[in-house]
Structure formats: C-alpha cells, structure tokens
C-alpha cells in the first residue's frame, strides 16, 4: 500500500510518513464514530425497559410468567477483553521484531495477535448467538438494538483488523516485511490498538455499569 506521490522528493514537510499521519487522522475521525454509537447506547438506557426482555442486568418476568435471567455474562466477556488487551501487547512485540528484522519473532507474535483477534470475534459470535437463543435480538427491545449495533460495529472493526493483519502475516511469511517496510505493520498495529481502546471503553460501559 504505497500510495504516495512522493516521487523524487522523499521527505514530507513534517518529516512524518503520509500513511502514518493518515491512519492517525482516520483514527481521530473514528473517535467521533464510536462516541456517537456510545451516546446512542447511553441515551437509550433511560427507556430500554420498554418492550419484552431479556435485559442486561435485571431479571424480568414476562406477562406470561416466564422468567428471564439477566443476560450478560461477565466472565466470558472478561476473557474476551483480556484476549484483546494481550493482542495489543503481542502486536507491539511483533512490530518490535519486524523493526529488528527478526522474521521468526514477527511471525510468532503476529500469529498470536491474530489468534487473540480470532478468539475475540469467536467470543462475540458465541455471545450473540447465545443472546439470540435467550430471546434477545435487534428487535426485542432498545437494549438489544443498541447493544448489538454498538458491539457489532466494534466487532466489524476487529474483523477488518484480523483480515488486515492476516494479509500482513502472509506478507511477512513470504519475507516481504523487512525492517524498512515495518511501517506497513505499524499502521495496521495503530488501527488494532485503537480498536482495542474502544473496547476498553465499551467493556465497562456496557457490561459493568448497570
């Protein structure tokens, strides 16, 4: 992805790489994207008890007398959260290896990052299906809607990150990420960390705060 018009004039005015500046710009913009989604979630907290359950932290008895347990399962999500945090650690280690030209280290840590990412997505898929089985869908109530949309868009970001990192893993495997090109990984890593810190906010807001 070397898409810059810096032919014959390699330095930029700030001395910073175009792509790195661009990804930071994009991340800045994404802050507003997730802020809006989080606002949506919080705003509906007031009213999401309208409509049928189940609900996150409250047990609920349907008019027909069916009892719904609180739906959120903190241990499972804690595991996912930890995995995502560790993946952030792994990807900086992968980057450090890439910068030092240690291809094996790079492949190892990047591979672990990918595994964590895949597990996180898997965790979410499991959680979503589990919720659906328990009767919570997008349409059930506003908790369902705002929960699935917020965590779903986060999950989509993670999935894109996984695909991106996987491409880089293959590139690395084919020896196409020498230290001079470690920036390719650094950029993907920045995105990955950002997706991670978004989860750092979502986790307490959605799962822990009643």
């Amino acid at each position: 992805m070397t898409d810059t018009a810096h032919a014959g004039h390699l330095e930029t005015a700030t001395g910073l790489d175009n792509r790195k500046l661009a990804i930071w710009t994009f991340i800045g913009s994404e802050c507003l994207f997730f802020a809006s989604l989080i606002s949506n979630y919080l705003v509906h907290k007031e009213t999401w008890l309208t409509g049928p359950g189940p609900f996150p932290h409250e047990a609920w008895t349907s008019p027909a007398g069916k009892v719904f347990e609180p739906i959120i399962e903190i241990p499972l999500v804690t595991l996912g959260t930890a995995l995502l945090l560790f993946s952030s650690l792994f990807v900086v280690l992968a980057l450090a290896n890439a910068q030092r030209g240690n291809r094996k280290g790079l492949l190892l840590w990047l591979g672990l990052t990918l595994l964590c990412g895949v597990f996180f997505v898997g965790m979410q898929v499991y959680e979503f299906t589990h919720f659906v089985h328990k009767g919570l869908t997008l349409k059930t109530n506003l908790f369902g809607g705002s929960f699935f949309v917020l965590t779903g868009f986060h999950g989509t970001h993670v999935t894109i990150g996984v695909i991106w990192l996987f491409t880089l893993w293959i590139e690395a495997f084919r020896g196409k990420i020498p230290p001079a090109k470690s920036l390719n990984l650094e950029i993907a890593a920045l995105y990955w960390h950002f997706v991670d810190v978004v989860w750092v906010v979502i986790f307490p807001v959605v799962y822990l705060i009643k």
Partner: protein
C-alpha cells in the same frame, strides 16, 4: 487489454505528452483532472438543483397553485436542499481543493492520488444513486434533514427514505476519504520553506474544512446507520412507541449539520481571501487573525448544534448555553469581515469579474450572518424558525456566501485550470444579473417569514398576504437562472476560443501562478522553495517587474503516480453494496455480499498494485 492501455499511457507520459481520451480520465489519479471532474459533475448537479428550485418557485408563485402535486413538491424541496448541499456546494469546493491546494503548496499531487480518485468516483456514484430515485418515482421527500420519526417505515413506506439514507451514506464515505487525504496533503506535502503560517489562506481555510469533515461526518454516519437499522432490521432507535427517541436524530443530525454549514462556507472564505488582496494589490490584512478566526469558528461549530432545536423545548439552561455560543461565532466572523475591509481599504482596486463576486460575497454574507444572529436568540427564534425567514437566512449565507465565493473562485482560477480567460463583459453581465436576481428572490423571504409564512408548504391559502411577494420571488428566480445561462454561454464561448491565458494573468501572489496555464501534469518542473507568504509577489518585486512566461518542460525524469482503475472498481463495489442493502428484502444478503466481494477485490488489487 487494460494493462496495455496503462502501458501506453505510461509511455505517453514518459514522452512528455498528456494522455488523452476517455480511458485516461477514468483511470486518472492526477489531482487537476480529478478537480475538473469534481467541478463539472458538481456544476451539473447544481443546475439540477436549480431547476428543482425553479419548479418550487413556479408552484409558490400563486396561492393554491396546483402546478405540482404535494408529493412532488415535497420531493423537490428535499432533493433541492440535499442536492445543493451535498452534490453542489461541497463538491464544488472539493473541485478547488483538488485543483488548487497542491499547486498552492508547491506539490506534485496530493498525498494519496488513488484515494483521491476513489473519493471522486464514490461521490459521483452516490450522486447518481440519489438521483436515480427519480426514475423509480421514489425521490426522498422528508426534507434535507429528514427528521425522525417521519422517516420511519411506518410513516414513510416505500423507497424514498432508503434512497436518501443510503445516498448520503455513500457521499459521506467520499467526503471522509477526501478529508483524510487533504488533511495529510496539507500537512505533509508543503514545499520546503512553506511553514504553516506561510500557507495561502485558501489552503488554510480548506485545511480547517477537512478537520470539520473528519469530525462531523462520522456523526451523521452513525445517525444514518441507526436509521438504516430501524428501517431494514426492525430496531426502534427512533420509534417512540418502543421507547426510542426521535429527538436523538435531531441531536445527531445537527451535531453534524451545524459544522456542515461551516464546511460549506469556509472554502468560500478562503477563496475570497485570495481574490481580494490580488485585485486590491495589497496583502491580506491581518493574516494571522484570519487563520485563528477560522480555527475558532471551526471549534465553536461543534458547540452550537441545538440552536436548530430551540422549538423543541430544551429548557432554559440549554437554551442559554446554545444561544450564547451561537452569538459568539459573530466575533470571529466579524474579524474576517473587517479584515477583508482592511484589505481593500487603501488598495488600488482592479475591477475584474472575480473581484465583483468577491466584494458582493462580503456584502451578501453580512446580511445572512446578521439574520443568523437574530436566529440565535431563542425567544425570537421561536417565531422565526421553520418560516421563510430561515429560508432567507440560509440562502443569504449559502448562495450570497458560498455560491458568490465559488463564482469568484471560478472566474479567478479559470485561466489556470483551462488556459483560457473567461470573457469579462459576459462575466460582469452574469454578476449583475445574479446580484439583482438573488436579492429580489431572497430578500422578500425575510418579510414573508416574519409575517408568518411557514417553510416547506406546497401551497398557501389566499388572504394571508403572501401572494405579491411570492410572485415577485418567482419572477426573480428566473432572473437568477438567466445569470447562470450567461455563465454557461461564457464557458462555451471561451471553450471555442484559443488558449490565451498567461501564467499569471492577475498579477497574483501565490505559487499556482508561477507555472504555465494550464499546468503540466507534474505541476512544478522543480519543487519551489518558499521564503514568505506571497512568494510570487516577492519574486516579482525582486525581479523588478513581471516575470517572464515560464517555459513548458519535457518532464523527463519526473516520476508521477501511475493511473489506476482500482479506485473505480472499489467505488463500484461500495455502490453495489448500498444497492444490495436497499434490495435486501428482494435479494437477501446476496446483493451485499456481491458488492462486498467487489469492494474487497478492488481494495486488494489497489493495495498490491505498484503505485509507480
């Protein structure tokens, strides 16, 4: 096939010839060509928006008119507003970002040329998508800010809102991609010596615009996503019966919408700040104040959104905050106005067409700004809101402001873009028709609004006193249209003429005028080194007079990015996804999947294509 075409072009370029032909435009990544594409497309959409407005005006010319059915009227004002804002003014500004910014900062192209092409294609496809709704008899009909819950499935069945929602979503992608690109370009691609505080003021204002785009568009993206889930997937974010809240839409929309109006005006501020000094033959007065007031306006833009919502009854504390914050914007804007005055004051004003438009811009924008301040006072705004007084306000800022500013830019940069001088006499005719037509069309709206004429009504009854002024407005709107007919004629006439423009026809100050008109593909044979704010004036002063005409050079050894069609493929994939979404109840997920596959295919080929 394709590769050979690319090869040919590469060979062409190496030999120093500009590639020509349709294919070269489809695969172009040259910021100048993309700028021209933006300009031509946006101007076409502007004419469409204008024709829509003329139809609205015919309907409103007389009371109880039946020229248009209520549905058609509602579709027309919605599409008129949406078209003018998203398909005319924003991309017309983008045309100038594209063509002018790299030239002004002494760069050979933008930071990401292929991303730039992608932005254009997405914009084009988004605009076509939105207007395709006419063919299905389902043009959007809920107003340009589409308030929930009127847009819900229950109250707006059919495809009208779907077209609007997905069309805007697509256009948002284009704007965001372009914003990332130009943000990076301005920061990173400046020629040596061009410090931030030496940047031409147009580049500065455009840069601030990119920041606004970056921060405002994600919010409407989310607002539209929520609407999309409501309409397609049965959520209830805006559906009150299920606990959802239509007011949330208003908040999200205006958090985007208010910064959006500064997205519309800041580029025009920039253009005018270039034109006034050149034709007054005096440097811009208070350069630093101009820059900081622009930044301040952008910053405040995020804190005033609810002044569009005074009638919702937000309570005294919120009203007070939003009212005071709104009024505060008058201060930095006033600083700009006074600095423009200071610029022409004591100058030696050369009355060329661009200067006419620039001066009229200042005069008209003041009127719109002052009515804006009147809106900023909630107890008064409760009467003004949703009347023609608001319609008058925003046409004064958007037409009297943005369009006059963009027209100044068009006349000013036309010779640079096409190597031809537009006809001065026709230009002035265009100007006078436009100035008079504009004021006669929109000034009476103030009076009508304060005297009780609500907006967005397809007709009004007799006896409320609205007849005379509405008829006057309708007639004047045609005068306004005539002014654009003159402009079109000027373009055609000039097109037939020779390429007669020198490199620096206006005795200007900035780098784009140091190179031939039109510029060669690589812009600068040698990247310039900048020593001050008005590099060309300084060079001329040093030289003791006009500089000699810059020579055309062969360009051998200058490496330019390769043309590529992957941006177009990717954009097509995105549009296919949007169409798939709209047809989800017919195709199931397959449309989306197919679109997504094309998108991914495009992205991967793009990523692994040698950029040259």
């Amino acid at each position: 096939m394709a590769t050979t075409a690319l090869d040919q072009q590469r060979a062409h370029a190496a030999a120093g010839h500009e590639p020509t032909g349709l294919w070269s435009w489809i695969t172009t990544v040259d910021h100048k060509r993309i700028g021209i594409l933006y300009g031509a497309t946006a101007f076409t959409f502007f004419l469409m928006g204008g024709i829509e407005a003329l139809l609205l005006r015919i309907q409103l010319g007389t009371p109880n008119n039946t020229f248009l059915s209520p549905e058609t009227y509602n579709e027309l004002f919605t599409m008129h507003g949406t078209t003018m804002i998203f398909l005319a003014i924003m991309p017309l500004s983008a045309a100038f970002f594209n063509f002018i910014i790299p030239l002004q900062i002494g760069a050979r192209d933008v930071a990401f040329p292929r991303l730039n092409a992608f932005s254009y294609w997405v914009f084009l496809l988004g605009g076509l998508f939105l207007n395709a709704s006419w063919l299905f008899g389902a043009a959007p009909d809920t107003g340009w800010f589409g308030y929930a819950n009127l847009t819900s499935k229950q109250y707006s069945p059919g495809l009208h809102v779907d077209f609007w929602m997905l069309g805007l979503q697509t256009l948002g992608v284009a704007s965001l991609a372009a914003a990332v690109n130009f943000f990076t370009t301005v920061l990173n691609m400046r020629a040596p010596g061009m410090k931030l505080m030496r940047m031409p003021i147009f580049t500065w204002m455009s840069f601030i615009t990119q920041v606004l785009l970056l921060l405002a568009f994600p919010v409407i993206t989310v607002a539209l996503i929520l609407l999309m889930f409501d309409r397609f997937f049965g959520t209830n974010f805006y559906v009150p019966t299920a606990g959802g809240d239509p007011l949330l839409w208003q908040h999200l929309f205006w958090i985007f919408g208010h910064p959006e109006v500064y997205i519309l005006i800041l580029p025009a501020f920039g253009i005018v700040s270039e034109v006034l000094p050149v034709f007054a033959r005096k440097p811009l007065f208070g350069y630093a104040a101009m820059v900081f007031s622009g930044i301040f306006i952008a910053f405040l833009a995020f804190g005033v959104w609810a002044h569009h919502m005074f009638a919702t009854g937000m309570g005294p504390i919120a009203d007070t905050y939003f009212s005071l914050a709104t009024m505060l914007i008058a201060i930095p804007t006033g600083v700009k106005i006074f600095n423009w005055l200071g610029t022409v004051w004591g100058g030696s004003i050369q009355y060329k067409t661009p200067m006419y438009f620039a001066l009229a811009f200042v005069a008209m924008f003041i009127i719109g700004g002052l009515s804006g301040v009147m809106h900023g006072s909630p107890p008064a705004d409760l009467q003004q809101t949703d009347t023609y007084f608001v319609v008058a306000h925003f046409h004064y800022v958007m037409f009297g402001g943005s369009i006059f500013g963009l027209a100044a830019g068009a006349y000013y940069w036309w010779p640079k873009m096409f190597g031809r001088m537009l006809d001065e006499r026709l230009g002035k005719l265009h100007f006078w028709l436009m100035l008079i037509g504009f004021n006669l069309t929109f000034f009476p709206m103030h009076i009508l609004g304060l005297n009780g004429m609500p907006r967005r009504v397809y007709t009004y009854p007799e006896g409320l006193g609205f007849e005379e002024l509405n008829l006057l407005e309708t007639i004047s709107a045609f005068l306004l249209a005539a002014s654009f007919a003159v402009f079109l004629y000027n373009i055609i006439k000039t097109w037939r003429g020779p390429r007669n423009a020198p490199a620096d026809p206006w005795n200007a100050a900035t780098l784009e005028w140091t190179i031939p008109s039109p510029p060669q593909e690589w812009n600068f044979a040698e990247i310039p080194v900048v020593h001050g704010r008005d590099p060309l004036w300084e060079a001329k002063r040093e030289h003791g007079g006009p500089l000699p005409e810059p020579p055309k050079v062969s360009g051998a050894g200058i490496h330019m990015p390769n043309p590529s069609y992957w941006p177009l493929v990717t954009a097509l994939g995105l549009s296919a996804m949007m169409s798939g979404l709209m047809l989800i109840h017919h195709l199931g997920p397959w449309g989306i999947i197919a679109g997504g596959a094309i998108l991914l295919f495009g992205v991967f080929n793009w990523a692994f294509e040698p950029a040259g």
